[in-house]
Symmetry: C2
Subunit: 139 residues, 2 copies
């Protein structure tokens, strides 16, 4: 039964937070990591778990792995994701995460917020690396 696999994915708090974030569009691992404030291993493992069960899809972009909700989710999956999104409004952590995501996206307005861009070569003109290197997308 496919349903139980879906619910297995949904019964961990970190995974719910990840899925909530992905509702806003695709994201690379480091952004998820930063928003959740969780260690890399933890985030990566939960993403693998979700991926193995078809709850997320992924593409590689240079160094970054960009995760998203599946392109053509099954009926069960989309029903449950919709239900989750609905329920998420009643639990503050999801709202806080989404707000953080919004701020993160704002930092990159213009370029899509799909990767960290930390350390993407700062065009030698710019000011020192104290502030987060402001960057253009690495392509």
């Amino acid at each position: 039964m496919k349903l139980t696999q879906i619910y297995q994915c949904l019964c961990d708090r970190t995974r719910l937070r990840i899925l909530n974030l992905l509702h806003g569009g695709e994201l690379c691992v480091c952004h998820i990591q930063e928003i959740l404030g969780e260690p890399q291993v933890k985030v990566s493992k939960h993403l693998s778990y979700l991926r193995a069960r078809g709850l997320v899809a992924v593409r590689r972009k240079a160094n970054w792995m960009v995760y998203r909700l599946p392109d053509r989710p099954s009926g069960e999956l989309s029903a449950n994701l919709a239900c989750l999104q609905d329920c998420a409004r009643e639990t503050p952590v999801f709202g806080r995460d989404s707000a953080r995501l919004g701020r993160l996206k704002a930092k990159f307005e213009g370029s899509s917020p799909i990767c960290c861009m930390t350390k993407v070569r700062v065009p030698q003109s710019s000011r020192g690396r104290a502030a987060r290197p402001r960057a253009t997308s690495p392509r």
Copy 2:
């Protein structure tokens, strides 16, 4: 987060089948057992699991424990139960279970199908339970 507890309850096939049955109204353990074709320990343990997390409520009626969906479920719970019922249509086992439940209820029409009634003293006055010779436990 309450949500994860709900999903923990939903990520086992047997528990999903039980919840699906309870959508049709309250049921005693032996009926659930009979419909699912699962051993008593298993059913009882899953019911305990659901009860401990507030997914089902229970009342005692003589020897029988009669389980039902909660009377005033939280928003998250009712949303997810509705979603489950929706998804259940896509997985045959739920339909089969419901059909069995229907047949079982038909057997007891008039009296509510809340307990096995095996061995419930037939008040010597009454119209006997028709053809059914004072049933022994159906198993």
